[in-house]
Symmetry: C2
Subunit: 335 residues, 2 copies
């Protein structure tokens, strides 16, 4: 039986990009669960752009992670000890693990995985929050319709690759933005997007015009800044922007000033921000659709897996430096 | 019988604010109407912010006004000669007059005024497009609900004063932004707004916080730029911005860069542009509601009336310099 819980605590609030220097390790005895609690072994921990917001002074929609406490994180764990009759030892659960190897969590906050739908790795990947974010952002907030042109920023990232594939499955023309030839080749050759923009190569405005001569109907935005500004210019009448993230701005020294908002008037266009948790009640609907696509092989999730809990801080840094190839996950233990 | 038609033609496309130097006068014989046409005497011509967009190279949602043609304008005219059985001599009509004293127009583009609902002056004012813009922007695009806080920019302007009053009638807490003590006093004392911000006096961000300590639910924006940027910061969860105009940006040398778009994510907030003409089919519904408010005296429209067609260009300039007190109208002939 495991006796110790390795944790990574927030040491200091980052000014710019968060990285290893903002976290410190400690080891505590595991806390045995009380009634209604579970002791888990962390298996996969998700590394998400929202984490940079959670460690800021005032995230707004959730409380900040306090200094000296484990970094907040969702993930997949295995039940080691259960004090809730609904969970058995060996069950896999989706839970608020935090950056720790052996968290003790409330059973009521944890969801038992249905392994007939997908493996634990599927559940951190295409059945996880990242994919759900893509689903609701694309179909509800962006209201993408078959035949429309959908532009996706950070299209090789966790949410982006799912949004781009979902739009393709839905019958949209899909243009993806990513940084560097490797990511762009992945989008074009592996995911089959209709066109790709490498934001690190050449003039961005020219690339928008070349790949979307008639503009775009939906922009699924994970990046913000200039990519958003140019998309406003590209938007067609009644266009929609789903703002999912703003990774270019999260750690920017100075925020980019978006100049094209006035164009929304004549275009009757809208920009809508969203948080996936608001769609909580409809996760089963989304997962049923996703599971169908997984079965037919039309949807895939490329994971970028880092090995061991202590890699989490550099994973977070990698995310903001654009170094990851697909959705970032830390594997803490074997399935 | 009138034989000559005085016109003001677009002479040059303005770079900045449009004014008298961009127009030139000419006099033509009136053109007698053919079948399905009307010869009108212009009575009231509306001066609107959208005109600055219409004279630009590429307005986007309508064709540009061509150089050497009469400036495009809507207004109220009196029928002098009718070649359409649905219109009688002496009828008042809402029509695309242009900047001319005696336009010949298509009857099918003209609406006969129901003078039992309001006078010709009411029809250029609270029953006109300006008021309809306020109605649909506030209730449909902004989706304002009783008890919510509604912020209105250019609140002493044509659309703004209507939006602000409509929000009050609807049971909202209303904060208006205007420039200078006279306009602010009008908003507070005459229209009874809950709070007023003079954007020409003191720190704007402080004023937003002082008048909306809990933020705003709806921003009805006629101005854009900094006022919009600060409103994004002020927006509450699920807040809505109806972008109606951007008068601060229309003739700006350099466009203002809006930095707070990323806040839309956590706030689940939206920005929506709109054009009143899209609500065409629902004008009767809006006018019925407005007529009801006019009868009870709870809604009023302050008009800023300039005398004579040749005043139109300086009216347009006044609009962009913020010199008007209420909705700008040029009176071309007596009712």
């Amino acid at each position: 039986m495991q006796n110790s819980n390795q944790r990574l605590l927030l040491k200091a609030r980052p000014e710019g990009i968060a990285g290893p220097e903002h976290f410190e390790e400690d080891v505590q005895p595991v806390r045995m669960p009380g009634p209604g609690e579970l002791l888990l072994e962390s298996v996969y921990i998700s590394i998400d752009p929202a984490m940079r917001v959670w460690v800021s002074e005032n995230p707004g929609y959730v409380p900040p992670v306090e200094i000296g406490t484990p970094m907040r994180a969702g993930g997949i764990g295995r039940v080691l000890v259960s004090e809730d009759p609904a969970f058995q030892v060996g069950d896999f659960v989706n839970a608020r693990l935090g950056w720790q190897t052996h968290p003790t969590v409330r059973a009521s906050d944890s969801q038992k995985l249905d392994l007939s739908v997908g493996s634990p790795q599927d559940w951190i990947g295409p059945l996880g929050t990242t994919a759900l974010t893509a689903y609701f952002g694309l179909f509800d907030v962006g209201a993408a319709k078959p035949g429309e042109t959908v532009l996706v920023s950070a299209a090789a990232g966790g949410v982006g690759q799912m949004a781009a594939q979902m739009a393709k499955i839905h019958g949209c023309r899909v243009v993806g933005i990513a940084g560097g030839p490797e990511k762009c080749a992945y989008l074009k050759d592996t995911l089959g997007l209709d066109a790709v923009i490498d934001y690190k190569a050449g003039d961005l405005e020219d690339a928008y015009k070349a790949t979307m001569p008639d503009g775009c109907d939906v922009f699924f935005d994970n990046v913000g800044g200039e990519q958003l500004d140019l998309a406003l210019a590209s938007l067609r009448e009644n266009g929609r922007v789903a703002i999912c993230g703003r990774i270019s701005q999260t750690a920017a020294g100075e925020l980019y000033g978006v100049k094209n908002l006035g164009l929304l008037i004549g275009k009757r266009a809208r920009i809508q921000g969203f948080i996936v948790f608001d769609f909580n009640a409809r996760y089963p609907e989304a997962r049923a659709w996703i599971a169908e696509q997984l079965k037919t092989g039309s949807l895939q999730q490329r994971l970028h897996i880092l090995d061991g809990l202590t890699k989490a801080p550099e994973g977070l840094q990698m995310l903001f430096e654009g170094g990851n190839q697909g959705k970032l996950v830390v594997q803490v233990a074997e399935e």
